[in-house]
């Protein structure tokens, strides 16, 4: 069913009786060409691109709970392509371009809002690093602007310029960046994949991988065995758990990232803002809530909840940067399990097991990558070779030293 303004009007006038379920509720078939484990943003996007771009229609997505219930349903919705390193920037810029056409591609309004992002800096060293990054963005075909303190003040007069412990010296801006309605992204991909015939199977937990003589033959699930020529794993925080079923240890740790939303407020923030002297980033949703976050709690965990010290740390950053939010109330906090990789960058690659493919290590930056991750994983699954913008995301890069470490903090996941 195609969505349109006309359709909305027609249904409104006829009591909304014509709306159909956005996806079917199929039982699994015994065998598929490709089974994607994980009905989150990346798994659903993979299914969309597999079916729409790569012509793979005999595909299933298996999800242990309800689709879109992992990190795509609990994040701060930021979309940007402001990366510095060669391995990353082309990929994220590819993703940005997919975002820019996503609604038309999916016929679903994911409310991609290109309201811009500003990364503030407070020292000369930070400025130098942002200039390097902004230049890398432009050289890769993305957009970037450098603002000095006065220009920042012009655009964001409510920031703390007069009593700041770490004065704002300027900011790196990407105007094309912004936010998207996170749930709608998952639903839009699911709806599209479903329309192309992909079976989206909810409440179907993978309990094992059937591997014989080094080849993956399918997945054992709570709904029985599902055979597959190829199995792709896109389960973010659960990567360690699923891949251990294939006997693999990963360069990944699972950590919790908390995020926060305030009560609804009339518009105050024009863009996404990240603080350079504390752990705080924020945007305002269409509903009016300030959506904000900070650092991960910092210890390995699979529990989708965090603790008070980080809540306080994030709010301290917020108050230091924009003391006018003091009387806005924090409404809800939640935690998502992040697949923190050893260099802070993702992995989209084959594994040593034939027929088993892995997509993970997104740290807390997976949302913005959703379309490109799906596209590139689909490419890998369909063609058995990495997509040109994802060639750096190899599993063996830690062995060879080709790590992609934007922050320069090395093999300690909780610092990325």
């Amino acid at each position: 069913m195609r969505y349109s303004g006309f359709r909305v009007i027609k249904e409104a006038l006829t009591g909304h009786k014509g709306w159909k379920p956005v996806w079917r509720e199929p039982e699994p078939k015994p065998h598929y060409d490709i089974v994607v484990i994980g009905g989150g943003g990346h798994g659903l996007a993979t299914a969309h691109y597999l079916s729409k771009v790569y012509g793979q229609r005999n595909v299933a997505v298996v999800e242990k709970g309800w689709i879109g219930g992992g990190n795509v349903g609990r994040n701060t919705t930021i979309v940007r392509s402001n990366y510095m390193l060669d391995g990353n920037e082309p990929f994220y810029e590819f993703s940005m371009k997919l975002w820019e056409g996503l609604e038309q591609d999916l016929n679903y309004n994911a409310m991609m809002s290109q309201r811009g992002i500003i990364n503030l800096f407070h020292t000369d060293g930070q400025r130098d690093a942002y200039i390097r990054r902004g230049n890398a963005m432009i050289l890769n075909g993305a957009d970037a602007e450098l603002l000095d303190a006065d220009q920042v003040r012009n655009e964001h007069p409510y920031l703390n310029f007069d009593d700041a412990r770490f004065p704002i010296k300027g900011g790196l801006v990407q105007r094309r960046a912004g936010t998207a309605r996170h749930d709608a992204v998952a639903w839009g991909f699911a709806r599209s994949a479903d329309m192309y015939g992909v079976d989206i199977i909810q409440n179907c937990e993978v309990t094992g991988l059937r591997i014989e003589s080094g080849k993956c033959l399918g997945v054992e699930t709570t709904k029985g065995f599902i055979g597959a020529n190829k199995v792709g794993c896109a389960v973010a925080g659960s990567s360690g758990r699923v891949m251990s079923m294939a006997g693999m240890r990963l360069p990944i740790e699972s950590h919790v990232l908390q995020a926060f939303v305030s009560e609804g407020l009339k518009p105050v923030l024009p863009s996404v803002i990240t603080y350079g002297a504390g752990h705080f980033y924020v945007s305002q949703s269409d509903k009016g809530g300030l959506v904000f976050g900070g650092d991960i709690d910092g210890y390995n965990t699979y529990a989708q909840r965090g603790n008070l010290p980080v809540v306080e740390d994030v709010c301290e950053g917020g108050m230091a940067l924009m003391p006018m939010i003091g009387r806005a109330r924090l409404l809800r906090m939640w935690g998502g399990v992040m697949d923190m990789s050893m260099d802070g960058s993702p992995i989209i690659d084959r594994t040593p097991v034939e027929g088993l493919y892995f997509n993970g290590g997104w740290c807390y930056g997976g949302f913005k990558a959703t379309p490109a991750s799906g596209h590139c994983f689909a490419h890998l699954l369909a063609r058995d070779e990495p997509h040109p913008v994802a060639t750096a995301y190899r599993l063996d890069r830690f062995r060879t030293g080709r790590t992609i470490d934007e922050k320069g903090v090395g093999n300690q996941p909780n610092l990325h």
Binding site: V22, G68, D86, G288, R327
Partner: protein
Amino acid sequence: MTQSNRLGGGQIDRNTSLTFRFDNRSYTAHPGDTLASALLANDVRLIGRSFKYHRPRGLLTAGSEEPNGMVELRTGARKEPNTRATTIEMFDGLEARSQNRWPSLKFDALAVNDLFSNFLSAGFYYKTFMWPAAFWEKLYEPMIRRAAGLGSLSMEDDPDEYDKGFRHCDLLIIGAGPAGLMAALTAGRAGADVILADEDFALGGRLNSESFAVGDHSAPDWAAQVVAELSSMPNVRLMPRTTVIGAFDHGIYGAVERTGDHLPTLPDGKPRQILWRIYTQKALLCAGATERPIAFENNDRPGIMMASAMRTYANRFAATPSQRVAIFTNNDDGHRTAADLHTKGVKIAAVVDVREDAPGSYDYEVLKGAQVTDTKGRLGLTFVEVTLSDGSSRTLDCGALGVSGGWNPNVHLTCHQRGRPVWNDDLAAFVPGADLPVGLSVAGAANGVMTTYGALKSGAEGAAEALERKGALPDLPEAEDAPVKQKPFWYVEGCKRAWVDQQNDVTVKDVKLSYQEGFRSVEHLKRYTTLGMATDQGKTSNITGLAIMAEVAGKSIPEVGTTIFRPPYTPIPIATFAGRMKGQEFHPTRLTPSHYWAKERGAVFVEAGNWLRAQWFPLPGETHWRQSVDREVRETRASVGVCDCTTLGKIDVQGTDAAEFLNRIYANGFAKLPVGKTRYGLMLREDGMVMDDGTAARMAEDHFVVTTTTANAVSVYRHMEFVRQCLYPDMDVQLISTTEAWAQFAVAGPNARKLLQKIVDPEFDLSNEAFPFMACGNITVCGGLRARLFRISFSGELAYEIAVPSRYGDALMRRLMAEGEEFNVVPYGTEALGVMRVEKGHAAGNELNGTTTALNLGLGKMVSKKKDSIGSVLSEREALVEPDVLRLVGIKPVQPEDKITAGGHLMNADGPVDAANDQGYVTSAVYSPILNSNIGLGLVKNGAERLGEKMRLVSPLTDLTVEVELVSAHFVDPEGERLRA
């Protein structure tokens, strides 16, 4: 206006009158009122507008679960949007305004949305606004954003103070209703350390709202008596106005105490709110229950509220929303409200009970087996349409309707560690499950015990069990103990627009549409319709939504599932979580020993981590920072300069294995370093990247003094302790950070020795022969003051670093300046320091960026392969030793006046300018007053082999393209003659 809806009795102080303003009209109230009760007493029912359809709304509840009655409280910088009128304690001069309406509350232009509600059904925005693509940001979204949101921020900095604190107890009791009070009494009398917290300003919970007796007293009197006894116990701490917001790991609870919100103005220094972390052995949740509504046609008009809230307003606040009231209920509790209101003289139009077997009354009419099928009244309820059991209709003339759909236990905190509540058929409600946070138990209505006597008993038992105390419980007073009778009833069949979530405007129809479109999991329902996502977090709506979904799906409610609750229990100001950590207090400020002296000299300071360092020292007449910095460099290189380098990390390493320990820590060797010598040390991370650099001075056979960069002082020390304790636990070596213990100054320049000779005590020979480059030693200065001297140089000049105990730092700096006058000694700041180190080609923070190896930095040979050291093995991975890896080079513009910029990228002299042809980047750029040229350092592919090559430095971000030449990074004194002089 006089308080026309004020009743008799109540717990308000009628002897005192308070004045308050709502939407610029003045009213009166009494201490003990909330804004909500005062508005009702003054016959104000219309308080706000809903989120989506801008429907007129009044109060639904009398507590923190309120979805509708939200106002902007106070004015100016203290304006507080979205404040629930039900939780605002009245004070004199209170000022509040309605919100989310324009131009006025009574006439709101966006109420036009209500006419188009058919088009604005759940999720409509996902299906439209897509064409043309560019219109989203330009047209649709700004429109939506303006309409959305609720209250508005002042946009001014929050002027109030907030604080944080820590408390400890044996037993934290959350909620001071019958269960909580009885629990506190039990635990308090048993001698335990107890904290009793309640969000209300009056302790007592529901007891304050009821007319029945507890023991020989009225319910509120009994509560007051218990509170009085508890206040007298030194081991019991009462915390009214305190919301326990979350249950965190290991028995830690977050709690917010509103210390100042009930005051017209805060006394100086008094915080507005305090965030407490309460460390508990055990906790007992006595949070009570929340009454739930029934959905029916137009059930959102001002005047329609929860029956229990009506009872609270009447009994506790002596206020009624109207003098003529009807009740709609599916259970006996609704009748209690009717009886209490009747007793207070309010006319009961009728009690509409869905049950055929509902109890009757002699005082007012009870319509058994009837349902409310519609309501009338644009800005406030005027009529209620009732369909009687025989199918006939009846219109009730009333200004308020109390609704009771049963009670939901307040299980929220039991879910904070992802425990799931379980369904209880008798109550038709979720009660706490088995998976509670460790140490937490539940008593009273929160645990599904719905009678007063039951709650008292459950509180006493809960406390005794939590404290593992045996023996007799305190005597329990007599109290009502009638079994709860109800018939589960969620919504009136056939209704078209019946609200489930009033704030977010989610109707029964939206829930059904969500199911129809496949959003059938509870979480999908929530997200698709926004049910339960408003500021009340669905406290009055979630279960109803679930029940409707269950019915449509043909499943039971527990089969459909439940959503779990997340902290905080009620919304909390962001400022409260930040406490005092804002403005200048955001981080501590560390001052160098010469700070006050530098301030006297007019230094400009810069943040270096938490330190403040002198950046440069402007002289009168210098108008641009470059003038000062150029002068400081020139004069240092010409004669002598002094710089405070105390901020460098200093670590004392002692023990018989100290040298071997440093051998493991550093990539280069230290075992053979003689006593009295210093060596540059290169420290790698285990992944082979450079972690830090510094010097290690051997003061004695078993004693080294290690320095680190300012930025890494903490992390290097932590790393060294890791290596010592976790990798080589039997090494005889001890570490201690002495960064704060020693003031350290660099004295650099050709006259450095001459200057030092004037302050170093004469028995120490500073001649080049006796104290050569890289020498170190313990000395005394200024007539016996112990000091350490290191002949090391960051500037490339003849230079020393001299350290004295911190408290002498200021004096030493002043002495150096005084003694140095004859050499025109100059103090220099971090800028000049940076210029000189670039001139000398020393890597610093911009080069040690965590992605560079020793090879990248031109220090590859330092990594000894004859010994085990951290990072040595992984530094040899294939990609790190390829021929075209980045190498550190010097960069000079072909035209010296051309500016170069750190962060610029380097491209070959010819060919395309794009990422694919990127050759490297500039790490540091400065103006060298010595070379009269801009210069820089950079990392370039195979750069060491490309010296002399011309390249293009491009910085499209700053609109710069410059022709540059790759040169040796050692711009000044490449042979190192000066520093050995």
